[in-house]
Symmetry: C2
Subunit: 647 residues, 2 copies
């Protein structure tokens, strides 16, 4: 394997500068109706007066103001009516003392008139009118150029055009204006393992996400792009596609194939260009590169979704926004850290965080799914910067959060804890917004103690076989209520038809079958250990001895899905988890237990409207019916019971 | 003339409700890459695990973690290397105790391995490796479903999709999703006086602005529309175009032809539909209507640009935003009123205001150009509501400003006062942003006294012929400096070739020529009056007698442009104003005076970078050269002189 070495990591700021200096700003004439959001590349002066004639500002009668002096409700002034003028008409009517001309809003003010009496204050007859209220000179008249004068500067180079500006451009008769244009952008995804969504995944393959999220980021700021598809990790294929993209665009954004990994071939393909940098001193996103070609620039983003999007947001987005005139800075917001956040020393670190509002302050919590996970970013509202020399950020520190979107709408109800399908069923019924982050039962309990989530789903089992309450006592949880939830079957996953005839816990020990466990700390593994302990007591054999006899006790998966898929593909013959995942994967299921899946509810959130809806739903017949449609789930008499925690 | 009467004005809220109830929400399947900013019309569950296999999370070597226990820099553990796996490959390699397999990030974790040692901690040889740092089980491994589990809810109906969400949809293999779609929208401008920008204006005509600003408003929230052009005030033309638009769209937005004016014919055309309302109890925008047809809704906006856009923003925009899932509320901001703002009693009033930041507080100032003016909105940052029963709002009141745009960028330097082309020349050179609002010298002085503008251009002449300083003394202006500006020629505008042979002030009185004056209170009229006073003293004749002899002394225009155009079209033979406007209109100019155009600079703004640039520019040779290119303007020895005001 040959490997690229990152010899000179450069700073984010330098990388940004080198990219910016190598993209040319272009401008182009465009029809004004297509220019909203664009930045003017010229000063715009008015060639005409707006309005270009003295104009009636109201529906009514053009008069000499002096003819109306003294007019009152009970002493109207009578004037002769000599004609009428509509907008757009150019009758050559001229008005003398004692005369009036009917006008509609926008009509040319007849010569000799210097005011308009509003229709409301006039009694109309065939050939005369009675004016019931005096007007002053200039009343209800818009004079030539009083809105915009000929020669006046309407808009300036650098102005970002909004709808009202487009109105001004129209009003002064401009059909086209010169605006700055975004560089032409091409997008390519690189990776042999990538397939487009909608296709079937073969083993080892994943769906391409980067091209979709990057193209969507561009769309968010109104930039179109050319997509060159997914190219495999094959030098020739990369070379031909990248060359095509380079020749057809000003900027090419690739993702993948930039790291020091031996399978990353993009580097070789870029030999024809001038490497501006390879390697940026930040995390995530070290493997980022930029190469300058004759008329274009290639920016190579890392392949990991979180890395790619973080780098896009840090390095590419601000430059493009500046060029096209969108707000060049991402919005920022101060928030207080709800937990200690560790960094990896040595590099500047941009860590995705979620946000929640408590007592008028914003709190942030870290999203710790790693840069390989797509949900790291989708569950985050923004990111914080941890400096090179900071090992960690203390709980309670105020940090500036760079937001991913212009508009951040925090959910009414934030679920954080162990995820269950029952939550999805209720969420659908809530009128307020909600967000659910799966951080497991212990994670949920830990953050509830700090007051972060509104609701945490938990199912924690102690050595006595009791669920949840003992743990709340242990943690002295006093800022939440415990709400009894529903029951969830746990048991063995076995191949369809149960070919190894595993029926109970002792079969694990006695039969020649490969087992796959759940990870340490998981509730499911605790259940197994409890069952094994009981078995050991019953048999009078040490529990460690029993564990040793189980083939695969120490092989584990971190998820129910992982266990199911291991059994499905024959990596193991038997696994352990909740019924839903067995059935969803076409496996047989042997019930061992029903666990109590409960909810913790933040006392601060208890009075929220959406929370009341949540509790109502939980207790409803509709919910218990829906729940029973899910394999292994059911409500029971305790569902919805509220337990005050009084430790 | 026949007229429509507004019999039942309804409230804004009722009007909004009636519109909303008569637009159907539609949803449609779309490719995910086209869905950014759209609202999901379905719940999205994952059919797959993400990742769908246990995956190497780093470049390095897959190992059994227990084989690395005890490994240190100076005591590495040696392992056999039995192969390599790239991402996307599905080699059937299996790992035993003491073995390692090289893996690249994203590769399938070989069977038997439970951790990956990062490449940085490995010495590589041909067929073996040395591990210099121990790993724990699960280190650098991403397990099946650990990002998203099969069956897990990815996104919910009602979620507004951002770029990260699109990434999630791709990651779980969705090619299309169902999203809510904007109603199909048609736009028509109605008015005989309207012509499209780019054409030549004939007398009485104006450029159509409403269709441009409304189409741009729609574009700002990402909605396309069909434009049906401008239709004249002719019933048949309106009928055929409106019918076509109604049959082809869900919502048709017209502007113009909705008021009680006799030339407004839209009302007749709408007889086929069901009138939902005609007349809304707000100002501006009373003449607004909505009519329901079989499959569509017509919303008739008023013709005046400010009214049309205000109504669009109050009535249409929030509903469309809600449908498409954009933030349904306009942003609001608290600001303090800098002056008393009067309302017109009887109706709820939405008044356009500008914003400025002073001492960490936002201040608002009213934009008083009237709803006929397009600049009323382009110079405003938003609007405030004045309630039906409020006659005025006191200075110093905190009001909520509804902002026109998501992003309001307040200018570094706000010019408010008398406008001059010299300002435009300097603005072009400033690195910071600036905005200029023409409110005349007196307006500038009044607002500077309240600390609102950064700079005010003024040219105020007193009866002794002195410029500016006496007025600052009179107003006790102490929060600003006076900066001497430049000189500006004022004089007579006469027809090309001066056919009436007017050469000086006394010719006005003695010759048979029609004069057009400037409005009362204008500096130019003051100059004339001063010259007439001197003439009266010289001749020993009363000044009023002299004024009476001038044909047209009491006929005035509010602008230089108006004066010039009156002379140009022969409405008058002679007018008065600054040289630039005479020359720009092809008129001859007879100089009477050079006025001193000066600047007031807010003391609070004096230290701003952009202000320093302004002062530097003002004193520069470049500026004085540019200035002399403008007819009638020149710098002089005092230009840039700073005068402390110490009253």
């Amino acid at each position: 394997m040959t490997r690229i070495e990152f010899r000179d990591l450069i700073s984010l700021e330098k990388a940004k500068k080198r990219i910016k200096n190598n993209i040319e700003v272009k401008s182009n004439e465009k029809r004004i109706e297509d220019c909203v959001g664009y930045t003017l590349a010229q000063d715009v002066f008015s060639d005409v007066d707006v309005p270009s004639f003295d104009r009636a500002g109201m529906d009514g009668y053009a008069v000499k103001a002096s003819d109306t002096f003294g007019a009152e409700e009970d002493a109207p002034k009578e004037l002769k009516k000599i004609g009428e003028v509509f907008p757009g008409e150019t009758k050559n009517l001229s008005l003398k003392k004692g005369e009036s001309i009917e006008v509609a809003t926008g009509a040319v003010l007849p010569e000799g008139a210097n005011a308009v009496v509003m229709i409301e204050y006039v009694n109309e007859f065939e050939e005369k009118i009675q004016v019931r209220k005096a007007v002053a000179p200039d009343d209800n008249v818009m004079y030539t150029g009083s809105d915009i004068m000929a020669g006046e500067k309407g808009l300036s180079e650098g102005d970002v055009l909004n709808a009202r500006d487009i109105g001004v451009l129209a009003a002064i008769g401009k059909k086209n204006v010169k605006v700055f244009e975004s560089p032409k952008i091409g997008v390519i995804s690189i990776g042999k393992e990538l397939v487009p969504p909608g296709k079937e995944l073969r083993p080892g393959e994943i769906f391409d996400t980067n091209s979709f999220s990057i193209r969507s980021e561009l769309a968010e700021i109104g930039i179109n792009q050319n997509f060159y598809g997914i190219v495999g990790d094959n030098e020739e294929e990369i070379r031909s596609n990248v060359s095509k993209a380079i020749s057809e665009n000003d900027v090419v954004l690739t993702s993948g194939s930039t790291s020091a990994g031996s399978s990353d071939l993009l580097y070789n393909v870029l030999e024809d260009g001038e490497m501006l940098f390879h390697g940026v001193a930040i995390k995530p996103g070290k493997p980022t590169l930029a190469t300058k070609f004759k008329d274009s620039l290639l920016i190579g983003l890392p392949g990991y979704p979180t890395s790619a999007l973080t780098i896009y947001n840090l390095l590419v987005d601000p430059i493009l926004r500046e060029f096209i005139g969108a707000d060049s800075r991402k919005k920022e917001l101060d928030a207080i850290t709800s937990t200690k956040i560790r960094s990896i020393s040595g590099r500047r670190h941009f860590h995705p965080v979620g946000l929640v509002k408590r007592d008028e302050s914003n709190y942030l919590y870290p999203i710790n799914k790693g840069s390989g996970a797509i949900t790291s970013l989708s569950q985050a509202e923004g990111f914080i910067e941890i400096k090179e020399n900071e090992e960690y950020i203390e709980e309670g520190t105020t940090k500036s959060v760079v937001l991913f979107s212009e508009k951040i709408e925090l959910p009414d109800i934030l679920f954080m804890g162990s995820h269950s399908i029952g939550i999805d069923i209720i969420r659908k019924k809530l009128s307020g917004s909600s967000k659910s982050i799966n951080i497991g039962s212990s994670g949920g309990l830990r953050l509830m103690k700090k007051g972060i989530p509104d609701i945490s789903g938990i199912h924690l089992l102690n050595e006595e076989g009791e669920y949840n309450l003992p743990f709340l006592k242990e943690h002295n949880l006093s800022n939440a209520y415990l709400i009894k939830g529903y029951l969830r079957e746990q048991g063995f996953f076995v191949e369809k038809g149960n070919p190894h005839e595993a029926h109970n816990i002792s079969d694990l020990v006695t039969k020649d079958i490969k087992f796959i466990n759940r990870n340490k700390g998981s509730g499911t593994r605790k259940l197994l250990d409890l069952k094994l302990k009981k078995l050991s007591e019953k048999k009078g054999v040490g529990v460690d001895e029993i564990k040793k006899k189980i083939k695969g006790y120490n092989i584990s998966s971190k998820t129910h899905s992982g266990v199911a898929s291991a059994v499905k593909i024959g990596k193991a013959n038997i696994g352990i988890g909740t019924r839903y995942f067995a059935q969803d994967n076409g496996l047989d299921f042997i019930k061992l237990n029903e666990e109590e899946y409960d909810f913790l509810i933040n006392k601060d959130s208890f009075e929220k409207e959406t929370m009341k809806e949540f509790l109502e739903q939980l207790k409803s017949n509709e919910f218990s019916e829906k729940l029973e449609e899910v394999p292994g789930l059911r409500g029971y008499d305790k569902t919805g019971e509220i337990i005050e925690l009084d430790f």
